[in-house]
């Protein structure tokens, strides 16, 4: 393991990786403070630019930007009462009242310290868990890899959204869209309609930009963000430092909330918006005066912010080790892996442990420098947050066009981005899971290849291997989770309270 850590340090400490991480952090923070543009949009906008980079540098750039989006989002959540991204919504509950009571600087200090330390704890959990997973994944064969990939789509589709059917339809559509172009096994072009562009199939960058960035830009252009916010009060350094000190004085809360974040991050498809609310509820439940929550208590800021950043470490565990994204953002990050010629999953951990630990170091580095940037640049970033959305929309539109073209220097990619944007807008409006579609898309070649290998090697009986049976059980559990949840809730309601069953 010491060898791996020294190799990872070598990868991480190269100038290219460090400065790309810093740029990624800056971009992530700016996108974080812009309400409505979350980590997914940040990844979608940055994905085209990693094409052709060294794997470590490209992944560091993406991960650094994605990891700190929520740190930036805390600023607007506390000062303006507008969450920069969905997971920051839990921070508004106590952060905004603190700001209105004149304790905004303190709340910001607490949020920044909790975010930084939460991210650090997430990294420690990641590094601690990876060595235990490595020997396990060495025993995973093609049938299990196939089922892991299927499980990833089902979990992201079924558990991540309010409606399981919508998530599964999106995942299935993503798989089907990936089947256009040359088949990897037979070398025959599928569904290309005599159109040369489709020989390479639907391309990942136009798909991601169209699904995530176009709907957000349209939302901004249509005035979907409240424009009546004001710049907020001036923020001094002394209250920020005081808030940071208050956070350090609550190590148990910080640790508990971070561990909640790590655990929820590990569960495929559940992460994202859930972790900060669970951490907040847990902090409130364990508080001496739960009624004070919502009125502006500092614990109500520390709990969601630490879990927010810690969950990325947890989400990376399953992403790297099994190829199953722990959060929606990780679905797009898997696309980044593929663009850089890497395939996350059992083989990745076996062959690229140094890269995995290097990414953990990037995660910690990004979280810590994000805190320093936020302390120094909060007043400036607040001005960015106050830009009129109608002004922001065309600027982001230009970035989309440049990003779509820069991927393969093909103008048709720009057109494809806007065409897929129509699908993205429809899915966003109707509540269909876009991360599930992207995950289906990036996993489809893997699923098809390993299904083929499994059938060739074992026939249909590959499903009867012990590992495969276990995974099938987990898939069935994922598919029936809604019903199981209702059953347990009903049982709890019937037998809860004083222990008497309701008739």
């Amino acid at each position: 393991m010491l060898d791996v850590i020294s190799q990872a340090l070598g990868l991480f400490l190269s100038a290219n990786v460090l400065w790309l991480s810093v740029i990624g952090v800056l971009i992530g923070l700016v996108l974080g403070v812009l309400p409505g543009l979350g980590g997914l949009t940040a990844l979608a906008l940055l994905l085209p630019f990693v094409y052709g980079m060294e794997p470590m540098a490209g992944l560091a750039f993406l991960l650094a930007a994605h990891a700190v989006v929520y740190t930036g989002g805390a600023l607007t959540a506390i000062v303006l009462g507008i969450p920069g991204s969905a997971p920051n919504a839990a921070t508004v509950i106590d952060g905004y009242p603190m700001s209105r009571n004149g304790r905004g600087g303190e709340a910001l200090g607490a949020a920044f310290a909790a975010s930084g330390l939460g991210g650090l704890l997430g990294m420690i959990a990641l590094v601690a868990l990876l060595p235990f997973l490595q020997p396990v994944v060495m025993h995973i064969g093609s049938p299990e890899t196939f089922l892991f990939a299927v499980m990833g789509i089902i979990y992201v589709g079924a558990l991540g959204e309010r409606s399981m059917a919508r998530g599964l339809i999106a995942g299935g559509l993503g798989v089907f869209l990936a089947l256009f172009g040359y088949d990897r096994l037979a070398g025959v072009p599928r569904f290309w309609l005599g159109f040369d562009y489709l020989l390479d199939g639907v391309r990942l960058i136009p798909l991601v930009l169209g699904l995530f960035a176009i709907p957000e830009v349209l939302h901004l252009a249509l005035g979907g963000r409240d424009t009546s916010v004001n710049g907020g009060r001036a923020i001094g350094f002394a209250p920020i430092l005081s808030g940071m000190r208050e956070t350090l004085l609550r190590p148990y809360l910080l640790l508990k909330s971070s561990l909640i974040g790590v655990f929820i991050g590990i569960v495929p498809g559940v992460g994202g918006d859930t972790a900060p609310f669970v951490a907040y509820a847990s902090a409130k439940q364990g508080a001496r005066d739960p009624k004070a929550y919502g009125q502006g208590v500092i614990e109500g800021v520390i709990a969601p912010e630490s879990s927010n950043n810690a969950k990325e470490g947890g989400a990376l565990v399953t992403t790297l080790a099994l190829g199953i994204p722990g959060s929606a953002g990780m679905s797009v990050l898997i696309g980044g892996f593929l663009l850089l010629g890497l395939e996350p999953g059992p083989d990745f951990l076996a062959n690229h442990m140094d890269l995995a630990v290097g990414l953990a170091l990037v995660l910690a580095f990004a979280n810590l420098i994000a805190v320093a940037f936020m302390i120094a640049a909060s007043p400036l970033l607040l001005k960015v947050a106050n830009l009129r959305p109608q002004m922001l929309a065309p600027v982001l539109g230009v970035l989309i066009v440049l990003g779509a073209y820069a991927y393969r220097n093909d103008p048709l990619d720009v057109v494809a981005t806007f065409v897929i944007g129509v699908l993205g807008c429809a899915m966003k409006t109707l509540g269909y899971s876009r991360p599930a579609l992207v995950l289906g898309f990036v996993m489809a070649p893997l699923i098809e290849t390993y299904l083929h290998i499994s059938l060739q090697a074992y026939g249909a009986s590959f499903l009867l291997r012990p590992g495969a049976l276990l995974l099938l059980g987990l898939i069935i559990m994922g598919l029936t989770w809604g019903r199981l949840q209702r059953f347990f809730l009903a049982a709890a309601a019937r037998y809860g309270g004083n222990g008497d069953a309701k008739r």
Binding site: L168, A186, V398, V401, T429, L430, Y432
Partner: protein
């Protein structure tokens, strides 16, 4: 919203069935080549059918997606969407650097920004596309219009 979702599901079903039929009957793909597409399409169509049944049973559907925008400071929703999409014809008609700058300038002016801000953003876009992308990074963005003789 409910009729919109039914139309969306119909489009998804037509897309899947259409391409599978094309593969089987028009391109005559072998069954081994079509095995996985049929599996993926079959599973998705099954869930589409379940969702359609669920929708037909539910009396009123609560929108699951993000709420639509309600604030429109100037112009109609159609104008805003058309304005946003005007980037496509502009980059093909004027070349990428000039088209993007023109797009930003025009969009911001129509959105009510001042001449100074609109011009400044347009110049910044030129610096980004021509200066950074073409000169520094070396991305061969088309400088000339698509209709310009090569």
């Amino acid at each position: 919203m409910r009729s919109g979702e039914i139309a969306f599901l119909g489009a998804v079903a037509a897309f899947l069935v259409g391409f599978c039929a094309l593969g089987l009957f028009h391109y005559d793909y072998s069954l081994s080549l079509m095995r996985f597409p049929l599996l993926a399409a079959g599973f998705t169509l099954l869930v589409v059918a379940v969702q359609l049944v669920t929708l037909s049973r539910s009396a009123c559907e609560v929108p699951q997606g993000n709420q639509r925008a309600t604030v429109l400071p100037r112009g109609s929703r159609f104008t805003q969407v058309a304005g946003l999409l005007s980037v496509l014809p502009l980059v093909f008609l004027c070349g990428f650097p000039a088209g993007l700058a023109l797009y930003l300038f025009g969009y911001l002016k129509v959105a009510g920004e001042s001449w100074t801000v609109s011009l400044a953003v347009a110049v910044a876009s030129l610096l980004l596309s021509y200066g950074l992308f073409i000169q520094v990074i070396g991305v061969p963005l088309p400088i000339w219009p698509a209709w310009w003789p090569a």
